[in-house]
Symmetry: C2
Subunit: 387 residues, 2 copies
């Protein structure tokens, strides 16, 4: 009344109290359905609620969290929102957080160091109660992470191994994925397999490669170095398309022979397909291609891209559950059994081979293979004449 506000008059608890004729505290109790509101007369409750909604009362989040010292928010730092990999993880996080009282505060770093730092800073200021780091590509160490650690705020990383920054992390088992990819192609009869490794500064790249090598050595399959390419360093996850295209084009130009390609990720695989197609080769008839990730692109391509699937949504949900669990555990007064013992942990989830149409038996065997092996949506029915 005194400080008559210009335009946006906000409805506060005091207003509801005044209009309803009850005290602020009663109103607060009722509207929050606090335990003590049990003793409030039903008629009173009803009246208060009616007034509140008639007035359009909405609690002020800032005041509430100032007083209660709880923000009820969980910070989600996403390195790149245009990458479907991150996006799907986000979806999983969202779903897990939805039934809780926690609100995800999403911030986007656009793969830029400065933004990471700035946003971590804001998350601290907003007093997030937990932090999930969704990283698809590079992710360095930041001062703020140390502060988060000190504040005992539960943190978990998804997508990348952030244990070096002492952040508990969640990731697909890249080694197993590489192994599965190699095995799939080998089982289809391929022996000359080209491998497109990821950029060297990505740890995943090595892990997948290790898996491939492990399988190869188990079955005695040689991996000629002329058939192994490596994507250049890049700070953009979609650069794989271009990279795959270039590497395969180069191999073809140099006369390197291969009947199958293991690509670092789906985009790289699609780039490979483009290169093959442009030189008159068809996938999968002339060459099989397998990707990694199973981003949406893979399924809608023709031919559908066979790939090693990362359970992205599941990863997101699991990460969210971890922080929720930590949050629940945090109540016990003494520091419990050292939650920090988990901080160095890296948890691996199993990948899954998704067979679509981009991989098939070596051509020489193809006539004898049952058509149904190619799957429902196989596009190979009217096979191109061999010239």
């Amino acid at each position: 009344m005194l400080t008559q506000n210009h335009y946006t008059k906000r409805i506060t608890l005091a207003d509801v109290a005044r209009v309803s004729g009850f005290s602020i505290s009663s109103v607060s109790l009722v509207l929050n359905e606090a335990p003590l509101s049990r003793y409030v007369a039903a008629s009173t409750k009803e009246h208060i609620r009616a007034v509140a909604s008639k007035l359009g009362y909405r609690p002020d989040a800032a005041a509430r969290s100032l007083r209660s010292r709880r923000s009820h928010t969980i910070g989600i730092m996403v390195s790149d929102i245009s990458d479907p990999f991150c996006t799907l993880i986000l979806q999983g996080i969202e779903k897990a957080l939805h039934p809780t009282t926690y609100l995800p505060i999403i911030m986007i770093a656009h793969n830029q160091r400065k933004q990471f730092g700035r946003h971590l800073e804001m998350m601290m200021e907003r007093r997030v109660e937990g932090l999930i780091l969704v990283a698809n590509w590079l992710f360095g160490e930041f001062d703020q992470l140390a502060d988060f650690r000190k504040s005992q705020i539960p943190m978990v990383g998804v997508g990348r191994d952030l244990t070096a920054s002492r952040v508990r992390s969640l990731q697909v088992d890249n080694e197993a994925g590489g192994y599965a990819a190699a095995r799939h192609l080998y089982d289809l009869g391929h022996r000359k397999i080209a491998v497109l490794r990821g950029p060297s500064e990505l740890a995943d790249s090595d892990r997948r490669w290790n898996g491939i090598q492990r399988f190869a050595s188990e079955v005695g399959l040689p991996l000629a170095s002329k058939r192994v390419g490596q994507l250049p360093a890049a700070d953009d996850p979609t650069s794989g398309f271009e990279g795959g295209y270039r590497l395969i084009s180069a191999m073809i130009e140099q006369g390197v022979e291969f009947t199958a390609v293991i690509a670092f990720d789906d985009l790289t695989g699609l780039g490979a397909i483009r290169a093959l197609r442009q030189t008159g080769r068809y996938v999968p008839e002339d060459c099989s291609v397998i990707g990694f990730d199973d981003v949406p692109h893979a399924a809608v391509n023709t031919p559908g891209l066979t790939t090693i699937r990362q359970p992205m949504e599941e990863m997101g949900s699991l990460a969210a559950k971890w922080v929720l669990d930590s949050l629940a555990d945090t109540k016990p007064s003494h520091t419990a059994t050292e939650t920090s013992s988990l901080s160095g942990t890296l948890h691996l989830l199993p990948p899954e081979l998704v067979i679509r149409q981009s991989t098939t038996r070596r051509l020489i065997d193809i006539r004898t293979a049952p058509v149904t092996r190619l799957g429902v949506a196989a596009q190979g029915r009217s096979r191109r004449k061999k010239e």
Copy 2:
């Protein structure tokens, strides 16, 4: 000191004041670089700042916004985070907001009414100062929108026409897009053009169709109804792939002839390609396909999908600028020249034809057409023999 907090002792202004030996207000002035801090001795400033950073002081966002009555946040409601369409708009918004002091608060509705409402509610409670609605698919009217209007909080919708809910909106010119698509195919010599319309409950669907019809009637091109299909209602934007696949499969099965397809969106176009391929037809040799949107899928498909591009990032930035402008205009005391006069406005941005490899001259003309017309990355060099 009194309420010795168990674990998370927060550093407050009072702490900095005590340690530095100055008063809370001085510390506040200095750390905020407030106008009045001009009169503070340089040495004092330095000292205060040093203490603050040594102590690891971080202002409490809740307290700050409670006191200042400003949240410095802009709410972004995204209908579906897994849709690249939304994601790219988001990117644009982010970029425009980044240089400002406003923090985007992103909420994801997963295309579910209930979530929309719930999240709008939370945005009100968090006292967002502006609201951007990023909708790719359906978006109904919500009670909360009325409240936002009442609170004079600037709102803008991107992607869908929300003027029915009296929200100023920003959208691509769908009619022009449809027109351009039809024209492109016509110019390539196509006369039997199949059209896959979007779901009837999407207004965009009609607009694009109107554009197509307008062009057709201008050049006297008949659009036989047997060549026109319509996607079924669906609440998932990726359903277009399936839909396009089905519609084209059906047309083929019924012996309908066509040499080109205008798809409602890119996913629908990719579905069409899948159907064509599965019946032994190649794109673009046997049939051209044009999409709409230019989501990332379009570029990495082989053949690259020709499409009508929506300037999604630009749309996002523009939307953000609009709310920032409204925010700036809001200062003048008297209600200015009715900002609300804009509330019914629908702003259209021009689409852009992006020619890739999925469209080409009608086969009969193809031998005479210069190869360069197909673009740099044309995959048609080793053309399949006609059987």
